[in-house]
Amino acid sequence: MTSPVSVSGLTKIFHDESRGEVRAVDGIDFECKGGEIFGLLGANGAGKTTTLRMLATILLPSGGHATLMGHDVAAEPEAARHSLGFYSASTALYPRLTPRETLDFFARINGFPSDRVNERVTALVARFGLGDYADARVDKLSQGMKQKVSIARTVVHDPPILIFDEPTVGLDVLNAIEMRNVIAEFRAEGKTIIFSTHIMNEAEKLCDRIAIIHRGRIHACDTLAGLREATGHHYLEDIFVYYVEQANGH
């Protein structure tokens, strides 16, 4: 049985004028199963966002393969994107559209059956409590409301795979908790979720399996229990430091 997300030897090389060739992602492998939250845990600049951007087909891999629902992200980018909802701090909303128009647009452009779009939009407006603001322009909404619209936008076409790239960055505690609860709900609905973070607490609470990524390479990938057993450390922070030090040759 093919995994919804399968990554093999995925590599991304950038050419930087001052640093020369930079291997931002260096031959990583992992698979994600249906109904699990797969965490990518790494420090800033570890290669999390580049990996997720390749999965979202924003960046073209320099090497290796990745498939979403069996579609190769390099060879069939449109088919791969059909199966995907992508959320990150850099995926903003159109400020001059209303939440209802935003959801309608993303549902239609992502191939949701047009005769069911209205029903789907209405359901998401109700689910995320957007009713009072559904017809106000997005640029008039509060940060919390924008976040809800963004999540609804990500899932409006009901994709089987969801990517959340550091979704709680910049959110206050309550909004961050709400975000984590929503992600957990999506897992309960059977979605495959890839969740990147550098916050240990979040990964501990939310992820079914965690991949520790450092300098473009995955150094460990297991459940929290498995990582504890392998390292002899209890806290994820200690586990993370253990692998980073090992990678740095300490």
């Binding site: 049985m1 090389i13 930087d16 924003i58 629902m69 069939e76 995926t91 992502n110 076409h157 609905e189």
Partner: protein, 465 residues
């Protein structure tokens, strides 16, 4: 189970996806090749509608693409012609203060004529030095001195008028004296000829009689043809300008570019929708401007024409309307593609504006050259982008249709548009340009990626085929 759901189920089974997660239509799976063009069209339509909906809520775009084309040139023309009428009225209204010396005895009638003219005020005679000083300070408008005639005949005279050409009042005083003298001379000659039994027709041996065969409608079309093409190009360019920046750099600045990159539409559909959106607003701006100027020029010009006895009719022949509409589409198509190529490299709105401005100036230059009188719409001109459409519109307004030139204009414009769109698509295949991380300009891009063929240039490995 609906057809959509059946296709979905097949997809899920193919990849071993658990049924619990089913619930969406994966359009690409189970889709035949024949379905792909219609899906692309659907995507372009959805994206295009989104672009337009957003744009029509942006004040800058509405002002530049709708309000300015409708209001700006009618307002500028109104202000200009009202200004001219006002200045003319002012000039007509004031009295010329003139000092005259040495009135000839034999021409007392001339003196009476000047004294009767309410627009001329005779100032007391002073010495010439004082008069010159007053002329300089503006207390006097002209000094007229009668002297003996050059032929030596007793009744002949020369009127020497000293005035200041740089002053409106002074120049008007000189003109009034010259007109007065001319009328007096004609009357004098007529009277003298008559006393000798010669009719004016006999002593005016050579005469000019001109007849204007142009109808008031043709004269109106001529004037419109001089003005409209220039306004038209400017307005199409203004109409495209902000949408082109908004659709590229604006998206990057608002962080919506990456959101758009993750939708299931192809990159080609995204670029096509953006291009059509920019071209639509340019086309709308051009057509609105043509309509606004055509409809408002008559009431604007009527005060100016009131005193001349001229009657002009400003209307566009019905046959010109489709040609003008096609011209707007071609011009907007060309300008939109050009502007989007330049704006593709911009990361902020300000970047976009400065990158597009040279292209904007470039397309206006040849149109200035068209104001030179006597230029014919030749096959050579029909092969030059922008100029060809401008000439085609100019001729259509006056009811002239040179079909070979029009055909060539269409062929050249469509070929150039196709080449530019292809170039835009080629440029946007480079990953770093597409995601906005390329820091160079169009010129740098050509130097690095085309001329030098640098394979290792940033992002060169990220070209989507």
């Amino acid at each position: 189970m609906s057809g959509d759901d059946a296709r979905l189920a097949r997809t899920r089974n193919a990849v071993g996806w658990p049924r619990a997660c089913a619930g969406r239509l994966d359009v690409l799976n189970g889709e035949t090749m024949a379905d792909i063009p219609s899906r692309r069209l659907h995507d372009v339509w959805v994206l295009y509608r989104r672009e337009l909906r957003s744009a029509l809520r942006e004040r800058t775009i509405v002002v530049n693409s709708v309000l300015i084309p409708v209001l700006l040139y009618p307002f500028i023309m109104w202000a200009m012609f009202t200004g001219i009428t006002f200045v003319q009225g002012q000039t007509e209204g004031f009295v010329s203060r003139v000092m005259v010396t040495g009135w000839p005895q034999a021409h007392a009638e001339l003196k009476r004529n000047v004294e009767r003219d309410k627009r001329i005020q005779m100032m007391p005679a002073r010495d010439l030095a004082t008069a010159q000083r007053q002329l300089k300070t503006g207390d006097l408008d002209a000094v007229a001195e009668f002297a003996g005639g050059a032929t030596g005949l007793a009744d002949n005279f020369t009127l020497r008028v000293t005035f200041n050409q740089s002053k409106e009042r002074s120049a008007a005083a000189r003109d009034r004296l010259a007109a007065m003298l001319d009328r007096y001379r004609q009357a004098w000659l007529k009277r003298e000829a008559s006393s000798r039994g010669i009719t004016p027709a006999n002593w005016q041996l050579f005469a000019l009689e001109s007849r204007n065969t142009a109808s008031s409608r043709q004269m109106g079309a001529f004037l419109l043809g001089m003005m409209l093409p220039l306004f038209f190009v400017i307005m199409v360019a203004v109409g495209c300008f902000y949408p082109a920046v908004d659709a590229t750099a604006g998206e990057r600045e608002r962080n919506t570019w990456e959101t758009l990159m993750t939708v299931a539409a192809s990159r080609g559909s995204i670029v096509t929708a953006k291009y059509l959106y920019v071209a639509t607003l340019g086309c709308v701006a051009g057509l609105l401007n043509l309509a606004a100027v055509t409809l408002t020029i008559k009431p604007i010009l009527s005060p100016l024409l009131a005193g001349t006895g001229e009657s002009l009719e400003f209307s566009v022949p019905l046959g010109a309307v489709p040609v003008m509409a096609a011209g707007a589409v071609l011009l907007a198509g060309f300008i939109a593609a050009g502007m989007m190529i330049f704006a593709s490299f911009a990361r902020t709105f300000r970047d976009g504006q400065s990158m597009i401005t040279p292209f904007y100036m470039l397309i206006l230059l040849p149109v200035m050259f068209l104001q030179v009188p006597g230029i014919e719409f030749s096959l050579g001109l029909a092969a030059i982008p922008v100029i060809n459409v401008t000439m085609m519109v100019r001729e259509a307004i006056s009811g002239t249709f040179h079909w070979p030139q029009i055909g060539l204009t269409f062929a050249v414009s469509l070929a150039v548009i196709a080449a530019l769109v292809r170039l835009a698509t080629f440029i946007l295949r480079f990953e770093d340009v597409m995601i906005g991380s390329y820091s160079g300009s169009l010129a740098t891009f050509f130097r690095e990626r085309i001329l030098q063929g640098k394979k290792s240039a940033r992002g060169a490995e990220g070209i989507r085929r």
